[in-house]
Symmetry: C2
Subunit: 621 residues, 2 copies
């Protein structure tokens, strides 16, 4: 256990849990990391799609970004209201489930869970993408680096670093500072040069245009850019973590996060247009992230560049942490409502929902391996789930206001309806434009997850119906059990098993399995070893039953016999005594046949609820 | 089970075993496959080492081969005597163990076991090497093809095709015929052309000489060539499989095998010299096996070439079968002497020693993966083990003749001593010359295997000392057990567990684990559910014990409590009732916490031999 203690930490008592009390300054890194970091891949994702337009792509960047910013502002006002309405935490599942019903709630939950997996994968791969842009020699190690980062985040989360705000604060503010400086410098140079700044280091030349602009292409670019909006719901999920007065503090935090995001999105678009920056193909060896190109163009490859790149790298990788914080909680809420296995609701030794963390890590790892750790390939899968959850949450809020007792505040209804409409339309645009690129996977996956969740719930209901009772203990029909003792040869173990049998019943059947169909040495000494001492002590003789096994199977004849006498004695329990040599060293496992384990397993699988196994251990001195 | 039935076949009864009765014609493929097939890689292994000599290498081939043939003839006469002395089968382990003692016997066994793994790996990789020489496009798939061939051989052997002689007869004789025709044709053309035949297809040009000839290089080439001798002991292992009169039949079979091998070795060397054939680098893309080059030079790339290559391929792959036939038998003999885990001595459903086959397959697969499926890299590891076993076996025979009652036949002693000397010197030459190339692995591995075998024996002796008894059943101090029933809440399962407890004892302790340290709903209804019905029926009240668990652990408090009452009640057995929900569908495993399994495991590991577990299954209707 010591290695687990070292990695994960000592267990924490339930009473050690305490309410978090955070203000705006700590709230921004904790809840804003996912949203803010998406500035590092959202614009890039849109620009990558515009590569076929060549240099013309930079002209389309500002209008696209304006649409994104407009959507972002609608979403901001909409979630501001959710915070006020659900000061206890209004996750999409909660809001949709309470206001719209079970199915929309589960739909939101399924979409969110898939979205979290993608958040983790995109965060990590984008972070490693930033690193390999800075150090191209690491390019061939992309996948390995992604998996190492994933492993670190997983272990950190299993340790339960819940107050990770402290850890995240420095990189988050460093990132914001670097971005603001770079954008400010870029805007300044563009304005002072009359729109034609001289880059410190020239961006890679724009590729030759291979396509003309089409509405379809712009819609696809917009859909990719929408990934920049993911993560803005985080504050509304965790309202109760804020310091009193919670609602205004949370709303102010959300406001600052959104304002920073708007500034960054707009700034990146403006500077990219001014410097003529286009995206590079992320699958080529010449790949450089847009932010890296922008930083080099604005300020060259000096210390500032290094600091900025490191902050981007850290923020992106840490943004995966949002998924690790929220995914297990969604799983726990679903497990409490019986839509997921109960074990997702068990808190582990460090008060975190360990199982959700492990499942998220495994699925994210699989996804990274499948897509080779390249962000761009994951982007098409992204955003559908997030926007579907947004839409359901906003729609739930509309219902929430309408069904309020007393007068409905139509102002609130209007804002949430606008949010639902904006995100709903975006969901459809993203699903349609990204369908062929991989969104179909999500569109298929969501119903699959839903079916599984309903199946789990049905199974639990079924089990609980059968288990539940308020009848007091029934004392009718209690009988001594029939005890079966398999015995290959006479030994201390055999003696111990027989003694235990005699302690619990007077009706004992000793089974002796032999390959040959005739009595052997064991049978010959049966009277001397067992019958005679039992008689002397006034106990009934145990019955010796010899089983013939032409196929050298030892277990099957015993199981067959036990099932047979169970059928012949309805209402009686059959207890099979299975002695087991326990070796405390793992390697001894290989030295002994695993017959005890196999016998137990076969009796469980083939038996009925009147057949039980009494497992008696035998320890080497 | 149906997929196992399909792959492995239906179980066979012990009585279906029958003695094999084979003659010379069937004996050659069964016992000679390994020896004969080594003609396909032995000369090649020697020639590969001579590549640095360039064209000069062909001059050294005949003297080297003469040494190999001389050694082969000594070994032949030596094993001829072993057959006569051990008509019941004289494997190296048996002969060395009986005549020289346990340590030399185990040394031979360890050497043999390692050798068999290498036989399997070299056979398969050489076979696939022959295939990729003929079809170079498969070259990049070498490892995959090797593993597929290994899987097929494993399954065939698990099915227990013991009379595989029939299957092997055609390729063996086809191989012998093709080799004899090719060699005969080559010799004829060389002789008729005055030593300068015109190749039908020219062999690849000899590489430029990069080294001068040294004794060291020649010794290394000789050591590699010695792999051609491996497998000649097979006949002496299986004498009793032969038809009456067994000894002469076996001796004749061995004689024919050795004669064919001598002809092939000599013939290949002569033809290679005549045509100026040199080996090609097996790691290069231009690799062609020596036999393929020879066949093309002698007869071109026609139908005969195709038939010959296919026969070589089959014979090489099937030669791995020798290892699969013999390795599990060596393991079984060692298991019977308690030097290996008992399970190696259990015959599986098809009357073969399945565990030995599986272990061989796994180790061979690992070796193939480690060495990338290239024979040449495995060759340095080869032959040390085989020759060490040869030497010990021959030395054992010397002792055998000397300790014969009556007059020692010094003629026999001389022949076996010559064999022991020849193979002993070769063992040293091979170990020294191949040491740096990988034979050091074998030299380290053999003592490791020896230590493990002694350790296994010691462990079994230790266990058997503790288990063995001839005391009759002790009827003193039998007491009713104390029954412990963990119960999280009242349910049909809890009720069933309590009923079973009441059937076997009057002293029952119900354990209820709660996170909070105060009575809960379960405790509140305890009297109504349990105490009152028990009293009415005249049974003693079960005792309710509430355990507090601040760390949310459920299992640890139960195990602690059970250990505590066991300490407080020496001489009494504690039976813990563990109900377990049994779901017959595997996927249901994920839906339930595995607490029952964990509780059973922890009680076994932490308990003592007075603590037993009564596992009662509960089935969903």
């Amino acid at each position: 256990m010591s290695i687990i203690d070292f990695l994960i930490g000592k267990p924490l008592a339930t009473s050690e849990e305490r309410a978090e009390q955070i203000g705006v300054a700590a709230g921004i890194p904790i809840f804003g990391l996912d949203a803010l970091s998406s500035a590092a891949y959202g614009p890039e994702a849109a620009m990558t799609l515009l590569i076929p337009l060549g240099l013309a792509s930079v002209q389309h960047l500002l209008p696209l970004t304006s649409c994104l910013i407009a959507l972002l502002i609608i979403v901001f006002f909409s979630y501001r209201q959710t915070i006020a309405a659900y000061p206890g935490g209004g996750g999409s599942y909660t809001v949709a489930h309470e206001n719209l019903g079970t199915f929309p709630g589960l739909l939101a939950a399924a979409a969110l869970m898939i979205d979290y997996v993608l958040t983790a994968a995109v965060g990590i791969s984008a972070g490693i993408g930033a690193l390999t842009s800075a150090l191209p020699s690491l390019h061939s190690r992309t996948l390995t680096l992604c998996l190492v980062a994933l492993a670190i985040i997983t272990v950190v989360n299993l340790r339960g670093v819940r107050e990770s705000g402290g850890l995240f604060m420095l990189p988050t503010y460093l990132f914001l500072a670097c971005m603001m400086i770079a954008i400010g410098l870029g805007v300044f140079k563009i304005l002072t040069s009359g729109g034609h700044p001289t880059p410190v280091m020239a961006p890679p030349p724009a590729p030759a245009a291979t396509e003309a602009v089409t509405l379809w292409l712009l819609l696809k670019a917009f859909s990719s850019g929408c990934t920049a909006l993911t993560g803005v719901e985080a504050v509304s999920n965790g309202v109760k973590a804020f310091r009193e007065p919670t609602v205004p503090t949370a709303q102010r935090t959300l406001g600052i996060i959104i304002a920073c995001l708007v500034l960054m999105l707009g700034g990146i678009a403006f500077v990219a247009r001014g410097y003529g920056i286009t995206a590079t193909d992320p699958t080529s060896d010449q790949y450089q992230s847009v932010l890296s190109i922008m930083l080099m163009a604005v300020s060259g490859r000096g210390t500032f560049y290094a600091v900025a790149i490191i902050s981007i790298l850290l923020v992106l990788i840490f943004s995966a942490n949002t998924a690790f914080a929220d995914f297990p909680r969604v799983c726990r809420i679903l497990a409490e409502d019986s839509f997921m296995p109960v074990s997702f609701g068990n808190r582990g030794r460090r008060l975190v929902y360990s199982e959700g963390i492990i499942v998220l890590a495994v699925v994210t790892g699989a996804l990274l391996i499948l897509f080779g750790g390249v962000t761009d390939r994951l982007i098409p899968l992204y955003a559908v789930g997030a926007f579907m959850a947004f839409t359901l949450s906003q729609a739930g809020m509309v219902k929430h206001w309408i069904k309020q007792e007393g007068k409905t505040n139509w102002h609130y209804v209007f804002i949430n309806a606008l949010g639902a409409l904006g995100t709903g339309v975006t969901t459809i645009v993203v699903a349609v434009t990204k369908f062929a690129d991989g969104a179909w996977i999500i569109v298929l996956l969501i119903p699959t997850v839903l079916v599984l969740m309903y199946w789990v719930r049905r199974h639990y209901n079924f089990v609980s119906q059968q288990v539940r009772t308020i009848e007091p203990l029934n004392m009718q029909g209690l009988h001594e059990p029939i005890v079966v003792v398999p015995m290959p040869y006479w030994s201390h173990i055999a003696q111990m098993a027989l003694r235990q049998a005699m302690e619990i019943s007077k009706e004992i059947k000793v089974l002796h399995v032999a390959e040959e169909d005739k009595p052997d040495a064991f049978c010959a000494r049966w009277h001397e070893y067992v019958e005679s001492p039992a008689e002397k002590a006034g106990y009934p003789r145990p019955e010796l039953i010899q089983l013939h096994s032409p196929y050298r199977f030892v277990i099957a004849p015993i199981v067959d016999y036990v099932c047979k006498i169970s059928d012949e004695n309805p209402g009686r329990r059959i207890v099979t005594i299975v002695p087991e040599l326990v070796e405390r060293k793992w390697y001894a496992y290989f030295l002994h046949t695993q017959r005890a384990a196999l016998l137990k397993y076969n009796l469980l699988i083939r038996g009925n609820d009147h057949i039980s196994v009494l497992n008696i251990p035998w320890y080497l001195k």
